[in-house]
């Protein structure tokens, strides 16, 4: 990466060092500021090296911002016609090399605070880990990741797995002393997982923190930027046209296509969705997010006809029938869409009202700080008896499945 300023002839050469060379591909943001902290230039970069050229002599601040929110700054003095060096050593950012990606990527404000406020205390949790799939409305255990009495120390544990294609999958973590936690796993992806004790105060945050990511770093970064409202930064990372490409390649990577769709919706560039949201909804009948994105494309289009309202309703009920959206933004849009429909139909549509009530139960469990849908069970009532509860939520009753099947057939036709 090169940033050229035409005001002088000094320059800065920067190196970003990390343990894992593959983490060089994680997008990072470099900002150049002057001694008054005026922003002179900023740019996303991947790779290990960057150069900032054309600088007058003086003091500068080089800021490295990671997707996780971690910020590193170095003050550097530049002389005319000379090179100054900055070196950002990210090796110490995580307790284990295999977890480096998580500390670069995960939107985790608690961690930020822990650096300032908490002294690391040794924590140790004993947990069970299971994974299961939702196939034709039933939850079925799969063997992606199963551990019993797994000891999780302060530094956490790392796992890698390959999710199956064609259906929703979830990770379940349970333990004797805390309520269960469920995390959606994007299908057909190489998934990286870090599980560690949470850094927040006990009894306020769930004691277990689970970070999940695919290795589509651009899509994952986009997801994090959206969560933080940093659409301006996101636009600098990925043009709406690039997001279009994420959608274009939906056959290969439907979860990342969904992220592209959410981004285009948020950026308000509805034309860019073309008919692809409809296709995403139709071609992947197991993915709730596609139906939600298509519903919202219709919602955001002006001049609705009654036929549009019925299609929006169909898509949102269909989405709910498919299961829990893979991404938190999908859960939010499902809820907001149903609220709007409920108001439009004067709370008189029984299907909408029933689904809205069920989605209210779902959103009460959602951890809104996560990009991938994560369900925390805050009430101790659920301890030791999670399965019936989660089955209702992720796969629903027979009614829900029948409803979904009918709608899928319609959409497929």
């Amino acid at each position: 990466m090169k940033i050229i300023k035409n005001s002088g002839n000094g320059y800065i050469r920067g190196v970003i060092s990390s343990h894992e060379s593959s983490n060089e591909f994680i997008p990072k943001r470099i900002t150049l500021l002057d001694e008054k902290l005026r922003v002179l230039a900023h740019q996303w970069m991947t790779g290990q090296f960057f150069e900032l050229e054309g600088l007058k002599g003086g003091d500068y601040v080089v800021r490295l911002t990671l997707t996780s929110g971690v910020v590193r700054e170095q003050v550097v003095h530049v002389n005319e016609r000379q090179m100054a060096e900055v070196n950002f050593e990210l090796g110490g950012i995580s307790p284990m090399e295999t977890q480096e990606w998580a500390y670069m990527m995960s939107v985790n404000e608690e961690y930020q605070e822990s650096l300032e406020y908490y002294k690391w205390e040794y924590k140790r949790l004993v947990i069970n880990i299971n994974s299961f799939a939702v196939i034709e409305g039933r939850t079925e255990p799969n063997s992606l990741l199963t551990r019993f009495n797994q000891v999780i120390g302060s530094e956490g544990e790392t796992y890698q797995l390959k999710t199956e294609a064609g259906h929703l999958q979830y990770l379940e973590t349970t333990g004797e002393k805390f309520p269960p936690k469920y995390i959606c796993l994007p299908p057909d992806h190489n998934i990286m997982i870090v599980i560690r004790p949470a850094t927040g105060p006990e009894e306020l945050v769930h004691p277990l923190e689970v970070m999940v990511s695919t290795n589509n770093w651009v899509a994952e970064t986009l997801l994090a930027m959206m969560k933080r409202g940093q659409l301006k930064d996101a636009r600098a990372l990925i043009s709406v046209a690039d997001a279009e490409e994420l959608l274009l390649y939906k056959r290969r990577d439907p979860p990342s296509a969904a992220i592209g769709g959410y981004y285009i919706l948020k950026a308000g560039e509805l034309d860019r969705l073309h008919d692809w949201a409809n296709n995403l909804a139709n071609w992947f009948p197991w993915l709730p997010d596609g139906a939600i994105i298509h519903a919202w494309q219709l919602i955001k289009t002006n001049n609705h006809s009654l036929r549009d309202y019925m299609k929006i309703k169909e898509r949102l009920l269909e989405a709910y029938g498919r299961g829990v959206p893979v991404y938190t933004e999908g859960v939010r849009l499902l809820y907001e869409g149903l609220l709007q429909l409920s108001a439009f139909f004067y709370r008189a549509d029984r299907e909408i009202e029933k689904t809205l009530e069920q989605v209210r139960a779902l959103i009460s469990l959602v951890d809104w700080n996560q990009g991938i849908t994560t369900l925390n069970f805050p009430k101790p009532d659920y301890i030791g008896n999670p399965t019936p509860v989660i089955e209702n939520i992720v796969s629903g009753s027979e009614d829900r499945y029948r409803n979904n099947k009918g709608l899928v057939a319609q959409a497929g036709g």
Binding site: L33, E35, K36, L37, R38, V39, L40, D59, V61, G69, E73, V75, E109, Q112, E113, E116, Y117, G200, P201, L204, V205, R228, G229, Q230, L231, K232, K266, G268, I299, K300, H304, Y309, I312, R332, E336, L339, Q340, L341, A343, F344, Y346, E353, E357, R360, A361, I363, S364, W368, N369, P378, K379
Partner: protein, 384 residues
């Protein structure tokens, strides 16, 4: 206090230009709840514990003063168009005589919300700000309790409104910048678990299908099923943190040599800002937020002040270190003789040179350049 149906704004310079319109609601006086002047025996399980509050009126007043001060300073990017204030405070509360406000009854809140919506609707570039401080409960939706909550113990909910429904409906307002700050608890009571509360209406339900406002932000003072906190007779921690953030602690510099407060950064920093209000409380409050695109709402006239805390690495070196902090352009120097506790210096945001020097040879004289950026900075000088 004014008659219920008569709306006289606390600040009124409404025009059709892009403006900031603020609705502030602070409910501390609940006459029908425990300790109230007309206390009713509440029959719904859990509501018996709801008591009188002293912090919400103070929070409402503090926020009112903040926005009028911002207007005086001319730092709101959209100048102030209106502030409507609804306060329910215990008799004898210290409310200024010259403040136009009304009691925060459900009827007044409904009228005020409707009028605020209309003011915000006048220009799509308006900034709409809604603030509520008082009792709140949550089951599916968050229910905010007005002064007359509990008047009829068989149906206490007539004095409440569904906030999430209200917020969702407000996307139908033309104003594209919509900020909601909810300083209330989110706990569920035993009685609520048994009851079907879906019939509790919002202040608006919005019979529309439409887009979300682009620059929307909702910050709640408490995580789900948790409480929001404050000290008796003072503005709450959340409100104080919000004011602190808006006043510059959530500001960033930009390419135009300005220090601006953006909604996104405010949201990200709220939990951290609460800690600055009271580090000793163990910071049990978490502030979840939902937002659209971030938007600059305040442009400061001056570079913000930040607290820099300087320590040594190792800690033991601190009591032997003579510390200096130098502004590199003016070379203005501040100094401190060796002392046992970290050095806290209020500074204008910027770049500074830190120095530690020692009389003996146990530690090494050191210098370090550092940035000092809101909301605060902690720096350690390596001395060994």
């Amino acid at each position: 206090m004014k008659e219920e149906s008569y709306i006289e704004l606390a600040f009124d310079q409404v025009s059709d230009r892009p403006q900031t319109h603020v609705l502030i609601i602070g409910v501390g006086n609940y006459p029908y709840l425990k300790g109230g002047s007309q206390e009713e025996a509440q029959t719904v399980i859990g509501l018996q514990q709801l008591e009188q509050l002293t912090s919400p009126p103070e929070s409402a007043l503090a926020l009112f003063r903040t926005f009028t001060e911002f207007e005086k300073q001319g730092i709101l990017i959209n100048p102030l168009g209106s502030i409507d204030v609804l306060i329910s405070a215990a008799p004898g509360a210290n409310i200024p005589d010259d403040l136009n406000y009304r009691a925060a009854t459900i009827r007044n809140v409904e009228l005020a919300f409707d009028a605020w919506w209309k003011r915000c609707d006048r220009n799509k570039d308006n900034t709409a700000i809604f603030f509520f401080c008082g009792h709140g409960l949550e089951k599916g939706d968050q229910y905010l309790l007005t002064e007359d909550f509990g008047e009829n113990p068989r149906n206490p909910w007539r004095g409440a409104f569904a906030f999430d429904t209200t917020r969702s409906a407000f996307h139908g307002c033309a104003a594209q910048t919509q900020l909601f700050f909810i300083d209330a608890c989110r706990q569920v009571t035993g009685g609520m678990l048994e009851a079907n509360l879906s019939g509790i209406p919002g202040l608006a339900t919005g019979s529309y299908i439409g887009t979300e406002s682009i620059y929307n932000l909702t910050i709640k003072a408490a995580a789900q099923n948790r409480n929001a906190y404050g000290q008796e007779g003072s503005a709450s921690y959340f409100t104080s943190a919000l004011i602190r953030g808006l006043s510059g602690h959530a500001s960033t510099s930009n390419e135009d040599d300005e220090w601006i407060v953006e909604t996104g950064r405010l949201a990200l920093l709220m939990t951290q800002l609460i800690k600055l209000e009271n580090e000793s409380q163990g910071f049990p409050q978490r502030c979840p937020y939902v937002m659209g695109e971030s938007k600059a709402i305040i442009r400061l006239k001056e570079v913000p002040e930040v607290i820099l805390q300087v320590n040594c690495n190792p800690d033991a070196a601190l009591e032997h270190a003579a510390l200096s902090c130098i502004e590199p352009v003016s070379r203005e120097r501040r100094q401190r003789e060796p002392a046992g506790s970290p050095w806290e210096i209020p500074l204008k945001a910027g770049v500074y040179e830190l120095q530690a020097s020692f009389a003996g040879r146990q530690y090494t004289d050191s210098r370090k350049m550092t940035t000092v950026i809101p909301p605060f900075k902690k720096e350690r000088i390596k001395c060994q």
